[in-house]
């Protein structure tokens, strides 16, 4: 009898061995994501932009701030593929240099805003009560100003400058992340695995960061990607209005602002920075759409 039992067990074990191995989550994600062509193209475009931001000064054909008074407002040519500006500076080289400035400001503003939003959302959702009410009412106040207006109000208080633009954009990024994180935390905190963690004596901060936070990462990634696009638009809008980067800096928005004075004689100064802003924001939006469809099809 005992022999028979062990035989059955061995057979069962062999059957388990024969089962197909579970698929790797990363491989599954890559397989699903690569089916979405627009998202893949957007991803490649963003990677190229990041490379341009890092390598810009080394691959640029000219110095971004070097004036050439013998070549003022020249249209695109073999020597200057995207033409020159009012000081004879190469537009392509300035846009390459501007990629670093524009992406760095948008990414840093979104990272700061996301980190604060996640922190406030986790605290509000986990602790509830008056802390939740206080944080959510603060978010309501921030939500009662349209994004760009809130950014303008903050810059009006702090004064113009790139750092202040980053602060302004970060502030209007906070409430959307706080709300998403709060609702995700509320839905997760009553689940069985959090109850188990609590019953074995896990501290609150461990429950928050180790058990609740990882469950919300997917929606955060999607929201983050889309908010980078919004941040690029907001930062370039503020620079265009004269509240952001200094006009001498090769910022995309500031270049557009300067270029509008030469719309009649040199439209290329406005055309290329505008196309670059548009394509960058479009790429982040399409990548966000693609990630959303891949990570959480219910959201689409």
């Amino acid at each position: 009898m005992a022999e028979m039992k062990s035989t059955v067990n061995i057979q069962n074990f062999e059957n388990v061995e024969a089962l197909p191995k579970p698929k790797s989550k990363v491989k599954e994600f890559v397989k699903k994501f690569t089916k979405r062509k627009t998202a893949v193209i957007s991803f490649i475009f963003i990677v190229l932009l990041l490379l341009a931001a890092i390598l810009g000064p080394y691959i640029a054909p000219y110095d971004a701030s070097q004036a050439d008074y013998s070549n003022l407002l020249q249209g695109p040519s073999a020597a200057h593929i995207w033409g020159t500006d009012e000081f004879g500076r190469d537009v392509f080289s300035r846009l390459l240099a501007g990629t670093r400035l524009s992406l760095a400001s948008a990414l840093s503003a979104t990272i700061v805003g996301t980190a604060l939003g996640i922190l406030f959302g986790l605290i509000a959702g986990f602790y509830g009560g008056w802390i939740d009410s206080l944080i959510m009412r603060c978010c309501d106040i921030l939500f009662s100003f349209p994004d760009i207006l809130l950014a303008i109000a903050i810059v009006a208080i702090l004064g113009p400058g790139m750092i202040n633009v980053i602060i302004a954009v970060a502030v209007f990024t906070v409430p959307s992340f706080a709300r998403i994180m709060r609702s995700a935390t509320i839905s997760v905190k009553e689940s069985l695995y959090v109850e188990v963690a609590r019953s074995i004596g896990c501290k609150n901060w461990r429950i928050l960061w180790v058990h609740i936070f990882p469950g919300t990462i997917q929606s955060m990634i999607v929201n983050f990607t889309m908010r980078v696009g919004t941040a690029i638009l907001a930062a370039s809008s503020l620079s265009f209005l004269g509240f952001g980067a200094n006009v001498t800096e090769p910022d995309w928005g500031a270049m557009l602002s300067q270029g509008r004075n030469y719309l009649n004689t040199a439209p290329h100064i406005v055309l290329f920075p505008g196309i670059l802003i548009f394509l960058t924001v479009l790429a982040f939006n399409l990548l966000g759409d693609g990630l959303r469809d891949t990570l959480d099809p219910k959201m689409s």
Partner: protein, 306 residues
């Protein structure tokens, strides 16, 4: 319904009070001495004191706040430093261009956006759907100020069909409202599409088809009618954002509206006007949200009971 409306209005009051307080504090949050900033680096001590007195900054904070709240109720918002007019006089003539621009943008954006959304939903998965959605996502990603400059370049500088700025004729509204409405059009198109797709999966649409109704009445009378509630809500909420979007458009097209006044006043450090405009934009946003909430309660009784 009356109780629901009262509840929504009462819940907005604390928010209004907090926002008005924050906007009052605006001038006190500025790093350094605001009177010195306004008077300039070379101003004498007497000049700085004069500015401080004009702004009422030499009084204790609670008294300043009391006067500010009294001014809000009576319509006395102080004086503009730039031209010596009262703030109300400085702002009043700027309303009309901004409101006209907002209405004209909203009209075309709604017609085109909703139409694109319906066509896209009906032709789901076909080339038309992809093109419509590409237009929509491009509209969301386009920097409004750049679109405005390119439209000026093509239609004003290149073809000479439309004026480059100002608001002397109806033609002058065409390019600014095209620029201002492009984002809303895109949002409405995307939202209408997803809402229509949801409605078209419902049982009542299947029943209508099973009864032998042709596609057009099924789409318009059954699916679209039910999606309309949500489309109206989203559209209504966009009006609040549109008014503040006037900041960019009015700057590009040199339109003397509220948005441009805000930018000019910030640059000139005309803080009383800035305060009044920020308060107006925030109030307008809250009131429109409130109206949309109430309308939603009227259209959809489920909201009232929840």
């Amino acid at each position: 319904m009356g109780r629901y409306a009262l509840k929504r209005i009462v819940s907005a009051i604390p928010l209004l009070i907090v926002i008005s307080f924050l906007i009052f504090m605006f001038i006190h949050l500025i790093p350094g001495d605001p009177a010195r900033l306004i008077a300039g680096k070379d101003a004498t001590k007497a000049d700085v004191e004069l500015v401080r007195e004009q702004l009422g900054l030499n009084e204790p904070l609670p008294i300043q706040y009391g006067k500010y709240m009294k001014g809000l109720v009576t319509g006395d918002l102080g004086y503009s430093i730039k031209n010596g007019k009262t703030v109300v006089e400085a702002i009043a003539p700027r309303f009309k261009p901004t409101i006209m621009l907002t209405i004209s943008s909203m009209i075309w954006a709604t017609i085109i956006g909703v139409s694109l959304g319906i066509i896209s939903a009906v032709m789901k998965g076909k080339a038309v759907d992809y093109i419509a959605m590409l237009i929509a996502i491009s509209g969301i990603s386009l920097p409004g100020f750049w679109l405005g400059l390119e439209l000026i370049q093509i239609f004003s500088v290149g073809l000479g069909w439309l004026p480059t700025g100002g608001l002397e004729s109806w033609q002058a509204y065409v390019l600014p409202s095209l620029t201002m409405g492009s984002g809303i059009m895109a949002i409405l198109a995307r939202f209408t599409r997803s809402s229509m797709l949801e409605s078209m999966r419902e049982d009542y649409v299947r029943t209508a088809r099973a009864k032998g109704l042709s596609e057009l009445p099924v789409v318009m009378r059954h699916a679209f009618k039910n999606s309309l509630i949500e489309i109206v809500t989203v559209g209504g909420l966009q009006i609040g954002g549109l008014l503040s979007g006037s900041v960019m458009v009015e700057t590009v097209f040199s339109i003397p509206g509220l948005g441009r006044l805000l930018v000019d006043s910030i640059k000139f450090r005309d803080y009383k006007v800035v305060q009044a405009l920020l308060l107006f934009f925030a109030l307008e946003y809250i009131v429109i949200n409130l109206i949309v909430d109430l309308l939603y309660g009227v259209i959809n009784p489920k909201v009232r009971y929840n």
